[in-house]
């Protein structure tokens, strides 16, 4: 690898990449078991000096909802959630995500937990960021075995939302017109490695940029300001990545 000395962790890079994708929006919601997207959302809020609103669904502190479990979906249906994150047991080159099973649906080989809210949120949230750390031919497949939610829809289907990007441990893909394009390769990884480990076809420019490393200012913000907030919801993650103990949980 051409990197000299890395002064950041993978999680910090990924959070920085995601925070840039978020852009200038009013409200980000982050679902369950998503510590890196949650880190990115809190980072975006710090950079925006309080904007956007961030709803961490597992948090009590960073959670504005008071109308029960359906409010997230109602809120998204109202157009009030600008960014959401989805993952998938399988993701294919058309942006379809599979959270259900592999093999035949009636006689599956592997069963995943289920579609959660994907079959709705993928359609109505303007910026859905796909996030899957494991970048392999097992996860990034030519065609998913079960479509929990499709990457694109016919013109007469109500669909103000959809995928804008896919972030993995190796690279960033952007998504437009029903296809992924390799947007940048993370420090320490190569285009060839991405091609080798990706099961679907994707576009790529003749010269693929390198994902910029997080700046010193970003790392300071992450470590000193974001990490303590994260510890309420993801204590193990905050401890492991940022060395934050429970005592440091911010008010």
């Amino acid at each position: 690898m051409t990197n000299a000395r890395r002064d950041f962790r993978d999680e910090e890079l990924l959070a920085d990449v995601i925070a840039r994708l978020i852009g200038d929006v009013r409200h980000i919601a982050v679902g369950n078991a998503s510590p890196i997207p949650a880190t990115a959302a809190l980072l975006a809020r710090e950079r925006g000096k309080g904007r956007p609103y961030v709803s961490l669904l597992q948090s009590r502190k960073h959670n504005f909802f008071t109308d029960g479990a359906r409010e997230l979906f109602d809120c998204a249906g109202q157009g009030r959630i600008d960014v959401f994150f989805l993952s998938g047991g399988q993701i294919d080159g058309a942006g379809n995500v599979n959270l259900v099973s592999t093999g035949d649906y009636e006689h599956p080989k592997v069963r995943f937990p289920g579609s959660f809210g994907s079959a709705y949120l993928y359609y109505v949230v303007p910026k859905v960021i796909l996030f899957r750390v494991e970048h392999s031919r097992r996860t990034l497949v030519p065609k998913v075995d079960f479509i929990s939610a499709p990457g694109a829809s016919a013109g007469n289907i109500y669909r103000p939302g959809g995928p804008i990007a896919l972030v993995t441990s190796r690279c960033l893909f952007s998504f437009a017109n029903g296809r992924f394009t390799l947007a940048s390769v993370h420090p320490g990884h190569t285009v060839e490695e991405v091609i080798e480990n990706t099961g679907f076809d994707f576009e790529r420019p003749t010269s693929v940029p390198k994902t910029p490393a997080p700046t010193g200012a970003t790392l300071t913000l992450l470590r000193e300001t974001v990490a303590p907030q994260l510890a309420e919801v993801y204590p193990q993650f905050a401890a492991q990545v940022f060395g934050i103990g429970q005592a440091a949980v911010a008010q």
Binding site: Q58, R60, A69, P108, P113, G114, S115, Y120, I147, P150
Partner: protein, 276 residues
Amino acid sequence: MRVNMFQLAKSLDEALAALTDGCMLVVPREVSGVPMAATRALIRRGVKRLHLVALPTSSLQADLLIGAGCVETLETSAVSLGEFGPAPRFTAAIIAGAIKMKDATCPALHAGLQAAEKGVPFMPLRGLIGSDVLAYRDDWKVIDSPFGNSDPIVLLPAIKPDVALIHATMADRFGNVWIGRQRELATMAHAAVKTIATVEKIHDGNLLDDPVLAAGTLPGFYVESAVVAERGAWPLGLPDYYAADADHLAEYAALAATEDGFAEYLERYVYDKRAA
């Protein structure tokens, strides 16, 4: 003078009497106050052939009921132990074809319950079109919206459970149950024929008499029976009151990975009444 038609149940088993074999049972998601003490009591009683609706997802509760052979049909959006990994008994039952699975998506379950709450036969929902979630649900219909111009939209049939089973912080002697922000518990109770609540404690007086408490209260009018079950969500958490027991959930995940281990878990934590 306010008269009282309600009687607190004298035991957990008495409170659960209305929940019979073969019924459609709706339960809340893993973070909304899951009636785990009641779930263990049902397994001890050997409840059978449940049509379990988990609104909109579940963790330990569905996995336990499935592993113990109580579930015939499961209707939900996901079952998982979260950071403790996949739900092993759910996964095994699906692979083995041992339960009938009705895969849904979270807002579709909310909408189905709201249809029953409103007394309408169906509720429309955006999204879904082009997904295999829709493709495998022959009870869901697509119509062309009469308010649009070639605007297909999904209609979801009302979900009308026989029983809603919930756990909450407190009830009073009028059957009023304080549910706080977990308002899906109210929708469940409105949609279901009967609601059974376990609670941490009894509130002296009437929850509806205090406007601040009343705002978070499910009226006793909807409640069939209520009973105290202290730490009744354990090993799951009760929002704002206690956290999930991470060590226990890790132990469950490890044991339930095999059928023998699951049997050992049941023996130790379910059939042994002291642990209930």
